[in-house]
Symmetry: C2
Subunit: 134 residues, 2 copies
DNA sequence: GATAAAATGAGAATAATTATCATTCTCAAA
DNA sequence: TTTGAGAATGATAATTATTCTCATTTTATC
């Protein structure tokens, strides 16, 4: 049985490219946008490879996947410390935030339950000041 | 606080049915399973109506949507206090937990940033004791 | 260099969700 | 009670996101 957990990632040209684009853009890119940007630099890269690279990079903890408002995934390079997102339900604006308290509480819970934590995803939804009702 | 966004929901027979099934099952049902269960009680209910009902119920804060491991949504009735989920990446087991500390930190952040909070979704991924590598 | 394993590209296939549209239901005003 | 407007529904088509297949290419190992 393979322990995908500790598999060192093989950083191929395509995976490197995907990671580089994510790191440079510092935005929450989705697979399709990533594909566009990748093609702009590399005539031949398949959307399937984008997805496969993202899966491998995520497995290696180099990228994080998020589910913001819409029903497709967004990705960003894993930064330390982790941060979280608030998405405005009306205008889609994203506000990022960090919270040592949240991370602490999560770690305490995982330790107590003997859970090995790979990924933390805290997503808030609501209305930003401009969109909240009077 | 009554707001423009959360118009009072019109609890039609179909929406009531969807909500009842969720409340009775106390599980994390996906749209398709919900459709099966609904059809078992009501000869005529469309999958589209399931989705529309879920959207309306979510808007009314009566149900919560989650993105657990697989790439489709799961739903459960909104319970108070909110709870969160840890999903094992290998076996899919779900461990629920509550955390006043997390909720407190979230509320402090939203107050400070003048954000109106509608939904909190904290999802942890990793390996459960049975699946974590030696 | 030979060979096995892994990664890739292209596009088909699948799954999840949303859109369309004709019909039905709800409810307030006449 | 009728009626008319707007909302909800059912059936299904359409769209979107993601995964799969398979032939080919690249990389790692001997």
């Amino acid at each position: 049985m393979k322990t995908a957990q500790n598999a060192p990632i093989h950083l191929t040209r395509q995976r490197r490219l995907v990671l580089d684009i994510l790191r440079e853009s510092k935005e929450h890119l989705d697979a399709d946008t990533l594909h566009q940007k990748a093609k702009a630099r590399n005539a031949k890269i398949s959307l399937a490879t984008i997805y496969r690279s993202l899966a491998a990079l995520r497995e290696a903890r180099l990228v994080q996947e998020h589910r913001l408002g819409d029903n497709h995934a967004h990705f960003e390079p894993a930064r330390d410390p982790l941060h979280h997102h608030f998405t405005c339900l009306k205008c889609g604006r994203i506000v990022e935030f960090r919270s040592p308290q949240v991370m602490k509480a999560v770690r305490v819970f995982c330790t107590r339950e003997k859970l090995e934590l790979v990924d933390v995803r805290l997503e808030l939804h609501g209305y930003c000041p401009a969109c909240r009702p009077a």
